[in-house]
Symmetry: C2
Subunit: 337 residues, 2 copies
């Protein structure tokens, strides 16, 4: 059925190993031979069987990317960058959705699927310190997200704490004092929610503002609906606030919707600030002031780091952590001071 090296070899009148050598760029081949072979390849439309190649060589030229959900814009945009960066490096990307569930994340790490893969870029939500052994396998793993645990793998992270602190200080500098936050999730041992909350508290402390628990609204998932729901909670509770910091843009946008429905003006009555700088943040009404966490850099760096780890010599190197630069993007929902 399919054309193999042997078929090409026969047509070109050489041994099939010579064809293999041509394909793999083996240097000692006469130009005439190479040309004969290439002509035969073109004529037959030969395509190497990648399963056979992987079996023999151990390389798959495939990476896996595991994110909680692809329909969260943040992860969609991240995936888009990762796939593009992988493609540039000649790799294809297998996308898995974990739902942010620890069991599914663990199952994935054990899964035979991954042996058709050279490495994994994982954006974990559920894993904890006790899962370190699961990461000790032979498969190179690059974690996205703060190095909150001592895992034996590379990390590429955003500066959650610093960025949340900077965002909060930005609000404080613009004169806000009662700053609500949306997105806290105590179930997460040490995920973004915890870190961003910490940054928020640091900023308050540094500015002599007391931390008020009533201003903290929970949201286990970070969809729009969760942001809307959390904002309803805040309003129902009747606590006064003059700003809202959503732990991601989606939450902030959902919250903004509810604020406007209830007649509050943004930013006059309440300033709103998000986190992620999604495409849609710029087009919301009002446009959303937010934190650009350096998504593209993170994606490119993750692929690069994984690639380095895959290379023979990289396997032994010490785990490395690299953090992206962030920036507060000033827009209408929270104008600068």
């Amino acid at each position: 059925m399919a054309v193999t090296l042997r078929d090409v070899a026969e047509l070109a009148g050489v041994s099939f190993k010579t064809v293999s050598n041509v394909i793999n760029g083996y240097p000692h081949i006469r130009p005439a031979t190479r040309e004969k072979v290439e002509r035969a390849i073109a004529e037959l439309g030969y395509k190497p069987n990648l399963s056979a190649r992987s079996l023999r060589s151990g390389r798959t030229d495939t990476i896996a990317l595991a994110v909680p959900e692809l329909n969260l814009s943040y992860f969609a945009e991240l995936a888009s960058f990762v796939i593009a960066a992988a493609e540039e490096a000649g790799l294809v990307t297998l996308v898995e959705q974990t739902g942010g569930d620890r069991d599914r994340e663990l199952a994935l790490l054990q899964s035979p699927r991954l042996n058709r893969t050279d490495g994994l870029i994982l954006s974990p939500l559920g894993l904890g310190q006790e899962d370190a052994p699961a990461l000790g396998g032979p498969l190179p793993v690059v974690m996205l997200g703060e190095r909150t645990f001592d895992w034996p793998c590379d990390h590429v992270t955003m500066r959650n704490v610093e960025a949340a602190r900077a965002a909060t200080e930005y609000l404080i500098a613009s004169g806000r004092r009662r700053i609500a936050v949306i997105g806290e999730n105590e179930a997460e041992v040490m995920g973004s929610a915890r870190l961003r909350l910490r940054g928020y508290r640091e900023a308050l402390a540094a500015n002599g503002i007391e931390y008020d628990e009533r201003l903290v609204a929970r949201a286990t998932l970070w969809h729009r609906a969760d942001g809307a729901h959390a904002m309803h909670d805040l309003l129902d509770r009747g606590v006064a606030f003059d700003a809202v910091f959503g732990f991601n843009d989606t939450l902030a946008l959902g919250a903004m919707r509810v604020l406007q429905e209830s007649g509050l003006r943004i930013p006059q009555d309440v300033a709103v600030l998000g986190f992620d700088d999604l495409d849609e943040a710029a087009y919301a009404i009002p446009s959303l002031t937010t934190v650009d966490p350096g998504r593209e850099w993170i994606a490119r760096t993750a692929v690069e780091t994984l690639l380095a780890r895959i290379g023979r010599e990289g396997a032994a190197a010490e785990p490395r952590t690299r953090a992206a630069d962030f920036a507060v993007i000033e827009r209408e929902s929270a104008p600068p001071a």
Copy 2:
């Protein structure tokens, strides 16, 4: 390094083929033997080498999904559904981005990458009738999008024309007469833009409203920025309109932003209607009236169709086209009559 069938067989004290038989559910195996083998598998943590399995069996249990860009919310949500449906069927999904570019779509179809795949779900933008031969290969392909060409493969589609017509008629029924559209793209031979435009024109014709070219705004890409840009165009041109039909939600949301900036009230001055029913449509201010094209059904059906085609007997069957049901989702940006 890795554990193989042989290692398991040795520990269990059987031939390695018996282990293979256990794994593949071969029926004639004594319970005692099966148990011995399973214990050995568990003890050694054996995982089958999927490359070897593919090489031998020809199956890869992997499908490819190719979309223009994953950071367009529509495709992100679609991909999310496809990956989930594939996962349920025990398949992993390889995601490719084509940029909607004909050359890249063609290159993908020729690519050896796909031979590590059992089939492809393709959301094409650039391909035309002349590319039919490229689809005649041995790889099963399911096309997403209207069957506008006579391609030798299955199609799973949304009812672009009917849905656009229904959407336009919805606007007409609510009293609008000067309905602008955003998203036309004459470069596309027969893509969604053309089809939705046709539905729009059919609705106008059916209601005795004359088609006015000045109400048509182009947008080659369908990002937010393109919708904003197109709306600027319309406003600059100075044509009067009392409604806007964006060919997708993203365009509509971008347009809505510009409308509001320029002081027009939605829906009092201008009604806005989108297409796709993205998550964000419900949380925009005002919430966006839109068309739900049946994305989840499309994703599930695409996987199902591909699976049927992959099965031995399915290969010969006639190409099939299946269309999703749609619905106009009434929200604030364009209230019902």
